[in-house]
Subunit: 351 residues, 4 copies
């Protein structure tokens, strides 16, 4: 029940980064393998991928960079957007708040953690945080809120509605702070019937965001999008300084070029959502309790420790958190690569 | 009602750093003014002050450094004690958590904030935090608790009992993490009848602490004490790197040499405590509500906003926090320099 | 003549990161693509690659991590090895000194730059630097040398001899500072007849090093090797904090597993060296001047600006530096993927 | 012959921070000691000192802050002015380059060191550095020069002429980078006949500078001047974050208020200069060799090691650097507090 636990039961639902890449990505890597191209994202595949992403986001001026992973993308953006006296507002459960080993503080910035509602924060809470800072007699001795970090889907698999995102954006813009969206699992939002937020909405409402590749069909990689050109000056150099500049930029770019060909990215999460829905139904029918309600590819089940141990013999899940001495929350995750047969076998195991 | 508010009513109880220094300190600065001495704390006055502090703390091997202020002392100690993957546990209300403008994060470290009880944190809460980290399946992706920061008196004027301090020390030592005590107002603890913690106790139970001068009778300065020699390697250089090494170290040292002559430091806060007690009694008699109970030189009064405004016309207090739309907490502080006449006048004003 | 210059002449010799991966790597990515494996390097492919690298390095206890790129690997190692009051000694021409956009300083550390001899630094120079620091009356006000960074081959394509490496190692060990080797192009050293340094030598003589993949046949990736187990505590977390932990660790590991199967890594650079030798011979015959002598896959030619411009119309080289108003140094690079036909065409062009 | 050497010969010429403060400063500290004032520089003495400094600098809009020491002032200014991708140009002998224990790198920035001419750098060298960066094909992978640091007098006691300062300023402004002047010993420049740079010149030509107090008659303290109001946004908070905000700001401010009353600061260094001139004459007459020529209060003598040892028995000098195996440079320094009798005795000792 730990990242260090490599014993594998027959069924694997521990995360959405267990497989390689969508076959069409490997196909194109093969086809282009011995071509020679410029480094550092200055090649034609990078340019092509950027063009397709700009089109998909209806953001014709956007700056687009391809990085290797989410934590580094978050650190680069937050470090680049904040001034040294500023911090970043995030849910107390946000990835940057708890699971990035202090990467934001390593860059010199405080995470200003707000209470979450199933992984989300509200425009009202952001507004209250900013106003509290401004009205505090001692605010010049405190860390100024300089931007807002959200994830969509959140770490709890929940989604912001378009209305919620508009309110957040409005609060940020009226307070002159940036809004940044972590889209590590964005494909699973875009494929989810409950979702009413499009890529174009995100580009219109956020100042920076990334389109996740690692968990959404790529071997690795995230596409960082800054809708307004040069909104972050010298971002290329900031990426280099953070050790996040890929020498062979085309390897990441080609993957996004593929994912943004024929709208693959918009559909790649559909099976994962449908299969997660099947699992949720089966769990309900079999009397399991969902720890909280979330419509995307992550499912959180409240179990007794005994149940969790028994189930773990057959299914590789991931431990989420302890509820109390005798109950835990376990997470089951589907991905673009999960098959109906996998889910059949899982449902079979649920007794 | 802000730090920026320089209009001064007749009576000043806004903080304990409003006056200059104890007269005996100025006297000695005058007497020694034109002597020549080595810089950077390598002079005989620094050596003398160190010897007196070691004796007062029953810590004959202690390393002692004199710095200019509390925030820089906290930053130096925390940066020096932590490894890059570690953070510091503190009360969510701790000075380092809220009122140092992100100085700890500037140094690359996360403040792991715990709920407070009137400014204090318990050994149990520290233990739970450390255990939660260790038992978390994902702890290698998280910030490891590396030390504990407490203040005595706390920012709320409260005190740790010797028993509480022993428990904290025990938890820290059994978990191999350092315990650091911020003694910005330590003289007011040592002068307080409720206090049962001596300098020797602190030196025995903590791995680092500072004896506050700025708020306790010095023009400026804090004496950083590391009871175990060389516990923090190259601390001199770390102090320099943080811009905290005083060229004329003797100016700070001479002040501590004076404060630790004839036990002045142990008694310098006595009047402040007695006068604060008089104010607390008067407030009680006149029907005011204390926001919370604290035995040292800080008094926190719950007032309606109207009351706060009216009272502020006559008395310079400091704003502490809003309770709700119509109520606030204001702080009244006495110091080593507060006189009976000041307090008479204040009590007169309280209606 | 800049990284931003994407116009491509017919012949490409600008760098050794222009192609994809060795075909056997793509083959294995295809074969294993839909397998499910644990994240963060805890999978069996990572374990297999680690075992093969330990064997190749005769370092059975070594810690091995797979990262995405060289700058981030350098930053992680240097940040993890140094204490805050220490800096890293490097050639003034070292990659960390000039071409990492301040990544080392971003981590809080000074690069202590030494004069170079065609990219190399000597044991004597390192020793002199350390002794000068120790003997300086003011050394407690200065940055302490805490480790040494070298590259092999260097940025100039030159090689350390085994004797030179032994002397460097000896100086470092007698001064209790770490020796770290950047092997971004290590395959081109190992394939070079002039080279007498084996992987086992490096593992025996250095405290940390990385085996370059990005420039040596992988899509991306570097294998960081710490010969002595746990020499760098909590390195996993440090990697995460730097944003350098790959979620799908197996994608990088599988590439190294392939490169260390049947000694592929030891031979993959051989063609590049042989072809570079052919180019060097041809240049000599045609009367060109090499800017400096280097035996590996990088060739530095001194040209008039006019010559450089003319040649650049047919050949994509990279600009190295200006010699004076009218002369420049241009760099030609071969790689594992360069063909005889490429070199024939290049020699044809050289007039 | 080290900072750690506390054995004191009879005569002390080791530095200009050996004495306390000008008597009129102590006098005013005595007079105002028990007044109550607001903290953090919001008191009337701070306001008065700021007004006098603005007048002396002919900079009516200037922001003025009082900090405790030079290294912290340098770190605050440089960290606040630079963006993360930028570094600071300085002489390789600049205080920030060698004697601040890596304080600038601790803040994340590289010092871009230029060759010096007796402690100075030229406008041409700065221009060449900036142009070299801009013309480098790889400059996006490098640290961008973002500001220039100079000291006046320099660490070698030399002075910039007004013409030189104008050229530096012009190069900086035409390249849109800031010019910052470290005036730790500024009083000794202002009192020097060779000096043709006034405070008003500095305020007109530099974007930030500090007027040194610690070495120029104060107990401690430096006055940071930013001629253009709000040129550095949120500087108050940056000062706090660096641990450099004095709680009792008035203690530093009152010292500057005194130094800027009746032009005391303009004259306080005059005796030091006249006495240094006497020493220089005597050295010349007695056949000593000055290591380099400098007109202010620092004198650098080239001695054999034997001479240095013998002379050190009678005179406390400071070690500057080794020339070769058998020769050293020693430094003799006068201050505002040096007396004719001190100098008579010194000259007596020189044989």
């Amino acid at each position: 029940m730990s990242f260090a636990d490599t014993k594998k039961p027959g069924l694997s639902f521990a995360s959405d980064y267990m497989e390689g890449a969508h076959p069409s990505i490997l196909q194109r890597l093969m086809e282009t393998n011995l071509e020679k191209s410029a480094g550092y994202g200055l090649d034609e595949y990078s340019e092509s991928a950027r063009a397709k992403i700009r089109a998909a986001c209806a953001a014709p001026e956007a700056d687009v960079f391809f990085l290797a992973g989410g934590t580094q993308t978050n650190a680069v953006v937050i470090d680049s957007l904040l001034r040294p006296y500023q911090g970043v507002i995030a849910a107390e459960t946000g990835h940057i708040s708890v699971h990035e080993a202090g990467a934001i503080e390593y860059g010199g910035h405080k995470v200003l953690a707000l209470e979450h509602q199933t992984g989300k924060i509200s425009a009202d809470a952001v507004s209250a945080c900013v106003q509290a800072f401004r009205q505090d007699a001692n605010h010049e001795h405190m860390v100024m809120p300089g931007m807002v970090y959200i994830s969509h889907p959140t770490e709890f698999g929940t989604l912001y509605s378009l209305e919620e995102l508009k309110l957040l954006s409005s609060v940020c813009r009226s307070n002159h702070i940036a809004l940044y969206l972590d889209g590590a699992r964005l494909a699973y939002a875009l494929a989810c019937p409950e979702n009413d937020v499009t890529l174009a909405d995100i580009a219109a409402l956020c100042d920076a965001f990334y389109i996740g590749g690692t968990k959404c069909g790529a071997l690795f990689g995230e596409a960082l999008v800054i809708p307004q050109h040069d909104y972050i000056p010298h971002l290329f150099t900031m990426i280099k300084q953070h050790g996040a500049l890929l020498a062979k930029g085309r390897i990441a770019a080609l993957q996004f070029d593929t994912l943004f060909t024929n709208d693959l990215y918009l559909h790649i999460g559909e099976d994962a959502i449908a299969l997660a829905d099947r699992i949720r139904s089966a769990l309900g029918e079999k009397g399991y309790t969902l720890a909280f309600s979330a419509p995307t590819n992550q499912i959180f089940i409240a179990l007794t420790k005994k149940q969790a141990e028994d189930l773990s013999e057959a299914v590789d899940m991931s431990f989420w958190e302890n509820i109390d001495e005798s109950h835990v929350i376990m997470r089951i995750v589907t991905s673009w690569a999960t098959t109906s047969a996998d889910v059949d076998a899982l449902i079979e195991v649920l007794s």
